[in-house]
């Protein structure tokens, strides 16, 4: 391997690592606010990517019907709850968020798909579908048991992976899709040819990281999420509605997953089950920072991407085996240097 190939591999690795980093960021965020290790975030990646592929074919992605069904279920559920608690005045806002918003996205998708709108509009619609889906999923799967142990929540996240992947197969079929890169230019930089897709991934990572930083630092909602992350009970006492924080975290998680999906399908073929492995690689990145540190999660994810690219070059059949075995040294390091204190917590 000469330096030319090494540079190309590292560039590829950084490009896919940027996608893992995006996901890892939101994984840490979701874990902090809800204590859910959302291994099924990858399904949002798949859903957005395959929706995007459907739009490119001029077809409405069938996943909107899952969105519709969940919207109805959650609207009814929340309205009944509100009435029982004598909070009927909340119903309009419940319906606005849980019924009208999804309905608008569904209607737009149905209307726009046959018209083959510009690529950016297709991408935006695909991301919108999953972003609206995220909080509904949280509402149904996690909110009723939000105070359970980390373990229980983890098992639910795994079960959710089964359910969502099954729906992925149902609505998109077993066939894989690939879309044209959003930014189809190559820039020559001395000996290196930088692909537009790589620039786009890194730029997205930079913009979204900055955006998340601003959100948490300068907005009330962001501060509420941070407060929930630091102390759930305390946050509730000062009047932050923790279900709202959970839904916000899931909306962000789904949004970022969706964006990653659009980026990913530009450079690789996506199947109904591709998202799970992508998500797990992001988990590896996030674990490097012990699910706590955002910067280490980003660095770890980019490391995962580079390792993957190198492994694919040397032993392509064993790429996944190599990538997931990389967890071993990480765990070793964590258990030697970052082991949690003796006084454990009832998990």
């Amino acid at each position: 391997m000469d330096s030319q190939i090494a540079l190309i591999l590292i560039e590829d690795g950084i490009a896919s690592g940027a996608i893992y980093a995006l996901l890892a960021l939101t994984m840490v965020l979701v874990f902090a606010t809800t204590r859910i290790l959302l291994v099924s975030q990858g399904e949002f990646v798949t859903f957005a990517a395959l929706s995007f592929a459907s739009f490119q074919l001029g077809v409405t992605p069938q996943i909107v019907w899952l969105l519709g069904a969940l919207a109805v279920i959650v609207s009814v559920w929340d309205s009944v709850d509100a009435l029982r608690e004598g909070l009927g005045r909340r119903i309009p806002s419940i319906l606005a968020f849980n019924l009208l918003l999804p309905a608008a996205v569904i209607a737009l998708s149905l209307w726009a798909a046959p018209l083959k709108p510009p690529v950016l509009v297709q991408a935006a619609l695909s991301v919108a579908i999953v972003t609206v889906l995220g909080p509904l999923v949280y509402r149904v799967a996690f909110q009723p048991v939000a105070s359970s142990s980390v373990r229980t929540l983890f098992v639910i996240a795994i079960a959710l992976h089964f359910v969502l992947q099954g729906f992925g197969l149902l609505f998109f079929g077993a066939e894989g899709f690939r879309a044209d890169p959003l930014l189809d230019i190559d820039i020559s930089l001395g000996p290196v040819l930088i692909k537009g897709q790589a620039i786009l991934s890194l730029a997205t990572l930079a913009v979204l990281t900055a955006g998340l930083y601003a959100f948490f630092e300068f907005t009330l909602l962001g501060k509420a999420l941070r407060a929930t992350a630091i102390n759930r009970v305390g946050a509730r006492i000062v009047g932050i509605r923790t279900p709202l924080a959970g839904k916000m975290a899931f909306a962000l998680s789904a949004f970022v997953g969706g964006v990653s999906g659009i980026l990913a399908i530009g450079s690789t073929t996506i199947y109904y089950d591709s998202g799970f492995l992508i998500g797990l690689k992001a988990v590896l990145g996030a674990i490097c920072g012990a699910m706590l540190s955002y910067p280490i999660a980003i660095a770890g994810s980019i490391g995962v991407g580079v390792l993957e690219a190198l492994a694919a070059f040397w032993a392509s059949a064993f790429t996944e085996a190599v990538v997931f075995s990389a967890l071993v040294p990480v765990l070793l390091w964590l258990s030697l240097y970052a082991a949690p204190t003796e006084e454990g917590h009832e998990l």
Binding site: V150, R151, F162, V163, Q165, G166, A317, F324, S335, G344
Partner: protein, 594 residues
């Protein structure tokens, strides 16, 4: 009675084999193979609180090991079984060593990653047949009898299932089993009772992996074909789901979960294509939803959910004639037992304990008192090794306790109770107290599984019963611990600490939450203990209780010792009055201080 249950089940299995058509025999074999794996998960998760998403990979490791060795080297399957077991055991040990030290989600993530890695290894190594796998694996012969048919394997597989059930029930009903159920690293209690939690976790993790390996070996010779698919991550997740469905806290739940899942899957895979016209693994949606539903509405799973409506099994009597356990020699009254010298504990900039010194002599009752936040419980934690001190020295019987963990401190002869009673809620009172005697036995997982621990077990339970009778709770020993009122739970904690045969007993607010009569009998109990030569150190807020009971008091305030002496001396000490009563304006009655 247990034997009768097993005989009934064995009879049922034989009867089933005679009447079931071949298709169902095959299905029953798959159920049996899965049950063996799931039983390991019951021990691991339901009892030990650990989660593994890597069991299918252990199954695959043993299956591929035997397939490769029998095909390439013509080894007998009976030779490849130990090879597979050793290989699996080593890998499980390494994985466990990497993840078990870390809390919560690292074991599931670690096993998950390992599951994915090994799958791609199976699927890409040419010698293992890549994605096509290995075919024509020999069948098994047992005592010259060829097990070619499904029916022959049916007996073998279900015999193994029964053995696994018996071994796990034996393990759970033992000294080691109580340690497994002691909550491990999630609570400071287990280590404080002398349980080596890391070792216990490792033992059950390896045992669960070995069960999976046996299942994999049987699988390879039953099917006579292996390929990577049944050993991937999805399969591991499915084993886990069977555990959740059947009920992770019940051995029979493992089998019920496997039956439900495998038959349900079979049924769905014919039903869904008929309904939707689509092929593919859509059954995962249904099972995923079932799991979410179970975790929302019936978290304990099917078998425990049903069992809660059934009459409880009558608890076994405790043999009162068991030979008593050996006791430590109590030190001569008046010799120095515990010495605390200039001990300091800082949390960041806050000094919770600041340069405190005192000592305790054998045969006395000393109380550590002080207003809330004075650092009394922190002092307890420093003495018992639950938390390390920042500076200073604690020594017991002349030996420094520096760097000792709570388990080792207990072995030296210092037992304690906790401020908020920490009993294992779902274990009986007797079992909770027997857990206290953990360090006085030595039987581990193997002796427990083989029932070689019965003599020691009788001694331990006998000791637990004696201690319960000593504190006056002999009549509730078979009651589940969390059904006792809080006051009695505290007394159970004292019995549990006594079961460790300590030289020094540390009691953290023993009288809190007790009614007047209970306090009187507690005081009587403690004086009785002193008369037998026991030394006691207690933290207490109830001044009336303390003043009538103790020989000496150490008073702390804001992390510092402000006074020490006989009750009457301390009561007259101006600094103590100042600390408790504050300024002249806020006059609180002494008894309610704190």
């Amino acid at each position: 009675m247990r034997l009768r249950g097993l005989l009934i089940i064995a009879a049922l299995i034989i009867a089933a084999s005679l009447f079931l058509p071949p298709f169902y025999i095959t299905l029953a074999n798959y159920v049996g193979l899965a049950s063996i794996v799931v039983l390991g998960l019951v021990l691991l998760g339901g009892a030990g609180g650990l989660m593994s998403f890597g069991q299918a990979a252990f199954v695959g490791l043993a299956a591929y090991a035997t397939a490769y060795l029998t095909l390439s080297y013509g080894l007998s399957p009976w030779l490849t079984l130990p090879v597979g077991l050793v290989l699996t055991g080593i890998l499980a040990y390494v994985l466990g060593a990497l993840t078990l030290r870390l809390t919560g989600h690292y074991l599931p993530i670690g096993t998950l990653a390992w599951s994915i890695s090994i799958y791609y290894v199976f699927a890409n190594v040419p010698a293992l047949g890549k994605h096509d796998g290995l075919a024509d694996i020999p069948g098994l012969s047992l005592f010259g009898l060829q097990l070619n048919s499904g029916r022959g394997f049916f007996y073998l597989i279900w015999a193994v299932v029964l053995l696994a059930v018996v071994s796990i029930e034996n393990i759970l009903d033992s000294r080691f089993g109580r340690a497994v159920r002691s909550g491990g690293r999630t609570t400071p209690m287990a280590e404080a009772l002398g349980v080596d939690t890391a070792r216990v976790s490792m033992a059950i993790f390896v045992y669960a992996a070995l069960l999976a390996a046996v299942s994999g070996w049987l699988y390879a010779h039953f099917l006579r074909f292996v390929n990577p698919t049944p050993f991937g991550l999805s399969a591991s997740i499915e084993y886990f789901f069977m555990t959740v469905i059947g009920g992770a806290t019940s051995t029979w739940g493992a089998i019920v979960g496997a039956v439900f899942y495998i038959i349900g899957k079979q049924w769905l895979q014919t039903l869904i294509p008929a309904l939707t016209g689509r092929v593919g693994q859509l059954d995962v949606i249904v099972f995923g939803l079932i799991i979410v539903g179970i975790l929302h509405y019936a978290r304990q799973g099917m078998v425990p959910f049903v069992l809660q409506w059934m009459p409880r099994r009558r608890p076994r009597d405790v043999d009162t004639n068991a030979e008593p356990l050996r006791r430590r020699a109590q030190p001569q009254a008046g010799t120095e037992l515990l010495r605390v010298a200039n001990v300091e504990k800082r949390f960041g900039g806050l000094a919770a304990v600041n340069g405190v010194s005192f000592d305790i002599r054998a045969g006395e009752i000393v109380a550590l008192i002080g207003p809330n936040g004075a650092g009394k419980t922190t002092m307890f934690n420093l003495i018992t090794g639950v938390a390390p001190q920042t500076a200073g020295e604690v020594s017991f019987c002349g030996q420094s306790l520096r760097g000792r963990r709570s388990r080792q401190v207990l072995q030296q002869g210092v037992a304690r109770t906790f401020q908020h009673a920490l009993l294992r809620p779902h274990m009986s009172v007797l079992e909770n107290v027997a857990l206290g005697a953990h360090t006085r036995g030595r039987s581990g997982i193997a002796r427990a599984a083989l029932r070689l621990d019965r003599r020691e077990e009788r001694q331990l339970l006998g000791e637990a019963r004696r201690q319960l009778e000593r504190v006056g709770l002999g009549d509730v020993m078979h009651v589940q611990a969390d059904s006792l009122p809080l006051g009695k739970q505290r007394v159970v904690e004292i019995a549990r600490a006594l079961a460790a045969d300590p030289l020094l007993l540390l009691l953290d607010e023993p009288a809190a939450g007790l009614r007047y009569e209970e306090k009187v009998s507690l005081a009587k109990l403690l004086t009785g203990l002193r008369a037998e030569g026991m030394t006691l150190l207690l933290v207490e807020h109830d001044m009336e209780f303390v003043m009538n009971l103790v020989d000496r008091l150490v008073v702390m305030d804001f992390g510092e010792k402000i006074a020490e002496g006989r009750p009457d001396e301390v009561q007259a000490n101006p600094r103590v009055i100042e600390a408790y009563l504050g300024g002249v304006d806020e006059c609180l009655p002494l008894k309610r201080a704190g």
